[in-house]
Symmetry: C2
Subunit: 382 residues, 2 copies
């Protein structure tokens, strides 16, 4: 690792500890002046008013090296946006959100990770399965059936490791020999809930345990709301199996919708309090009704990004991996990512990272048949 | 009764027996030449080709007087479109359908009725509750809860007297001391299914048993499909409580949608075969998900008619009851039917019959706040 890369890494980790969770104003500063310069500005309190209070509490504490040691001793690692293992295309929609509407609308600075898998690979095809902590036997059966079916078909099951539906979904994925990712609202070294210590250890052994909170961070209510956006962002869709009237699952569904991911809900007996939230979301058009794994697959098509309106200035030829992927697209007609990977010789994950970037640059478009080049005129009218 | 009225009555009843069920071509002929002349034309086979085969089997049998005697001896009666008890406004949307798309798309010629209530009064505020014959304990509980709740609030429960959900809904309405209407696919003298003989007798004692098939007509499969349009037409909305994959309830929902009535479905456990059809209808946007009586009331607003596009030629002032209702509407602002009834001194049922007629004439419009006069300009742009 070069000195510069090392300095950037320590800067990301330092800032992750200072703000503990998403901070759109800091993300904007990093975009503007770079991460090492932003870390210096925070450290020296050379900041606009809006960032002073957000960084006040912990800007004096730089324990980046210690944090990196700590997570390494747990067998984990810190991923930053500079790392090849950073799930770039999963985070794209999150970076496009209007941060003035929600203080959680920001890409995480660091993802703290435990487990043997690559995060982008593990979330290549992923479904979030979330729901009531006070689940019923019915809900647990349905969650286990759907999560187990899809895990057996190669889908990764993402959830929040909570009691009830979350835990059931993780366990079903593990039992099916599939992949599961737990996204926490506390440090990856904290077993939360404590009764799920063994489950979390098992997920860290075969899947991934992920958090944007530095090691040692304890669980807080507002962490879970921010955490829910990562559950949605790391998945192709969010499935709610049971939800009471005031369930946190509805917050995850809200994030799914903001990020352009399909939100799905399983109905249940109208006599069951554990299904009230699902029925409400279906009734109010917030979630689509699904009853089994096949219907989940039908609804959870290729990830569709919410591309913001913007003037298209792209006329340059893309370079690097994006250039290779662009070159692999035919002049006329469309190609699926798998074909583009075969044609370009690039890994599928790289192709899937390049395509949305090309789309944001106004160079390509997609429809159910695949991805295609936009002509100059099409680019201008979009 | 005048000789002319008597002749018309016998003509309707004769034709009802000849065609047994809806016959759009005959309805069109009646519209064109009047019912007595149409009866003569059928009797003498002075008919266009399209009507010859439809009337072939029974045009030689005129037992209208005997049929009227028969139904009178059962304590019943025959309603024709000439009768004040004819549910005119309930039949309006049926008369507007495109008959070339469906040979059942016609207003019935006669409604054979048993029971102590007036049909338009009984269906003033009505919900159809239909569903699986092979219902589960869960479905029966929910059907009974919702039908009982609404019957207790003054809603009439309309259904088809079949096993399962239909029977449960009728029984719940009776048990709540409410009104229920059974619409049959056979003569009102035939207990079908036979095991529901006592239930049908009870409905005929406290509510209404209705059919467009003359006394003695036996149940046929295609009768039920045509019968379903009357269940939808006589109601403000259709609620399906349970439905298997190939349930007849879906056909009733189809009619509800064609007639502009809201279609509603109750979800259930995804593990129950009896809820598969409901989930499918919700999933495919054919029915709205509802879980309890309040939500049914929310969705089943004032009857909305599907007004066909037509050039508006109406400039004359309406007369009769329609004129009184029109006069009761303010120059600016809207009124609810109940207020119009109070202001005009007309019965509510008359007001509700007049308003859609005024709407069809292009003179009034409605929105959730009530009914209002259209200005000359609005009439022209509609």
């Amino acid at each position: 690792m070069t000195d510069d890369a090392d300095a950037r890494r320590l800067a990301w980790v330092y800032l992750s500890r200072v703000v503990e969770g998403p901070c759109p104003a800091l993300s904007a500063l990093i975009d503007r002046i770079g991460v090492t310069e932003a870390a210096r500005a925070v450290r020296e309190c050379d900041l606009p008013e809006s960032l002073r209070s957000a960084t006040e509490l912990r800007r004096g504490t730089d324990c980046a090296e210690r944090d990196l040691d700590l997570v390494a001793r747990l067998g984990g690692r810190a991923l930053t946006p500079d790392d090849v293992e950073w799930p770039s295309w999963r985070m794209l929609a999150l970076g496009q959100l209007d941060a003035t509407r929600d203080r959680s609308a920001a890409v995480p600075l660091v993802l703290w990770v435990r487990g043997p898998l690559s995060l982008p690979d593990a979330t290549e095809q992923a479904l979030a399965v979330v729901g009531a902590r006070c689940s019923s036997g019915y809900g647990e059966q349905v969650a286990a059936d759907i999560a187990g079916d899809l895990a057996g078909q190669g889908w990764t099951i993402v959830s929040g490791a909570a009691f009830g539906i979350d835990g059931t979904a993780h366990r079903a994925a593990l039992a099916a020999g599939g992949t599961t990712v737990a996204v926490l609202g506390c440090g990856v070294d904290r077993p939360y809930p404590a009764q799920h210590e063994r489950l979390l250890a098992e997920i860290a052994e075969y899947g991934l345990v992920v958090s944007e909170y530095p090691p040692g961070t304890t669980a807080h209510k507002h962490h879970f709301l921010a955490r829910n956006r990562l559950i949605a962002a790391l998945s192709d869709g969010v499935l709610v199996v049971e939800a009471g009237m005031r369930s946190g699952a509805r917050n995850t569904v809200k994030w799914a919708r903001r990020l352009g991911r399909p939100a799905l809900a399983v109905p249940g007996p109208v006599t069951s309090a554990a299904s009230v939230g699902c029925h409400r979301m279906i009734r109010e058009g917030e979630a689509l009704l699904v009853t089994r794994a096949e219907e989940v697959v039908d609804e959870t098509g290729p990830l569709r990004l919410a591309v913001p309106d913007r003037a298209v200035a792209a006329d340059e030829t893309p370079d690097g991996d994006e250039g290779l992927v662009y070159a692999a697209l035919p002049q006329v007609g469309s190609r699926l990512p798998a074909h583009l990977a075969a044609d370009s010789g690039l890994p599928l994950a790289t192709v899937r990272a390049a395509l949305p970037a090309l789309e944001l640059a106004g160079l390509v478009g997609s429809d159910p048949s695949g991805w295609f080049r936009l002509t100059r005129t099409e680019r201008l009218v979009r």
